[in-house]
Amino acid sequence: MSERPALLEVRGLDVRFGAVHAVNDVSFTLPAGPYGLGLVGESGSGKTTTGRAVMRLAPIGNGSILVDGRDVTRLRGAELKRSRRLVQIVFQDPDATLDPRMRVGSAIGEAMLAHRLAPKRQIGERVGLLLENVGLEPEHARRFPHQLSGGQRQRVAFARALAVEPRMLVLDEPTSALDVTVQARILRLIAGLRRERRLAYLLISHNLAVVEELCEEAAVMYLGRIVERGPTSALLSNPSHPYTAALRSAVPHIGVRTHARPLVPGPPPNAAEPPSGCAFHPRCPLAIDRCRSEVPAVRPIATGRVVACHRAEEVLAGG
């Protein structure tokens, strides 16, 4: 949707785990930052696997992932290492990234040394600056992870990701394990870093409101496929896919007592035995015969928006 050249271009991405088609023909682009693309969906939708595939942390079956124009699915050795520096990841659980026996300073410095970004004698100073940049003190470098709070540990995870000067981050539910007041501070940190460092990011989240705060564009995933993608505000205020509409209506609100019946009955389907046709049809209030037999193609529906639904025009008109 942007005229800027793509920093990340994912084309026809396929990831399978045995019988489960975790990511099915997924395509999207991310321009150079500052820019945020939110990947939303429920458990098993493939959003995390898509993020991991971009990091080459998932087995890529088909498709290509171009970072700055180079297909990372074909890179090996030193070239892969170089491309990995451009894209870094922050996980939901900072404890999964931080070695409990390593001091914060060493954990961050290690990443700089691995990519030879600074001579050893400068590392300490650079680590201190980075810690300040993520809202911590240089003194925190001497601490062990368990001496920090959950929010502070997540800040360290950001510092470590930023240590190699990436152009893009994959943020996998970066605030989901945090208390709400801490979450609010981390969201402000992300907004600040994005501005200062002109970062692009893929924000993976189940929380539509978080995606709305941080992302120009959002893609909604269901059972391995992107079912709708477009500017976040347009997509959330006027969805063109019934699943987007259902997700939005299921979000609880403070202040308005909606008591809306959930629009999608029943649990998400079994990923190992996906329904025929459109995977959403068994839960879709608008399903017709065509939906049961024919997988809807991803097609343009409005400016900068694509959707995979046979009845998208009606959904869009219905508001």
Partner: protein, 264 residues
Amino acid sequence: MIPGQPRLEIRELTVAFGARVVSDISHLAIAPGEIVGLAGESGSGKSMTATAILGLGRTAGASVSGSVALNGRELIGLPERELRHVRGRQIAMIFQSPVGSFNPVFKVGDVFERALRLHGASKRAAREQAASALEEVLLSPNLLDRFPHQLSGGQAQRVAIALALALRSEVLLADEPTSALDVTVQAEILDLLRSVRKESNMSVLFISHDLAVIAELCDRIAVMQRGKIVETGLARRVLTEPSDPYTRELVASVPRLGTGMVAG
């Protein structure tokens, strides 16, 4: 039961680990059929409060003093034998991890049978009550033959609620019961709790860090910080016009749909 008497009433309840007081509640009452939200962040003491209500504070290694009354009957200090009858039968509890709260080696039907027979039902009556309880939560009685790991998170949470219904519990302590569920499944469970309250007049203490969920489900709210209730009142009023500074910060921290991008 005396008219106007709260179903559950807590007075001067203190739960402490040694010198560290984790919950210190001067007063909290829940009327029959009322849903009260207990809100707070990690470590605010909301879960330990529930543990103490169930009479499990000492089992958890804490010292408990004060009063917890169920229909006017004091529970603190009751012998374990009598408490065991209160637990499950009168006060049921459901947890954040619905699958994890079941013993993995028992089928759903066995869980119901053991619980109902413990409280006096015959084997046959237990089976029938279990099947009808599952139907009340919109599940198929076929699920009685499943093991917990064969249930989805939403199904397991429904089964846990059905168990409370089958035992005709008067109070349901729900500790973050939808926090591990997807948002569409969460909406269904909230719907179910609303209808359970309506049909069976069950009182619910709904413990959650999620203020938006509390706003949608609960009649009243008590906000906890460092073991104390800092603000209480009608959920809608407290969450739209919070008066305590901590409640204000909590409410302001909740990301909301429809407010647009904050990142520039």
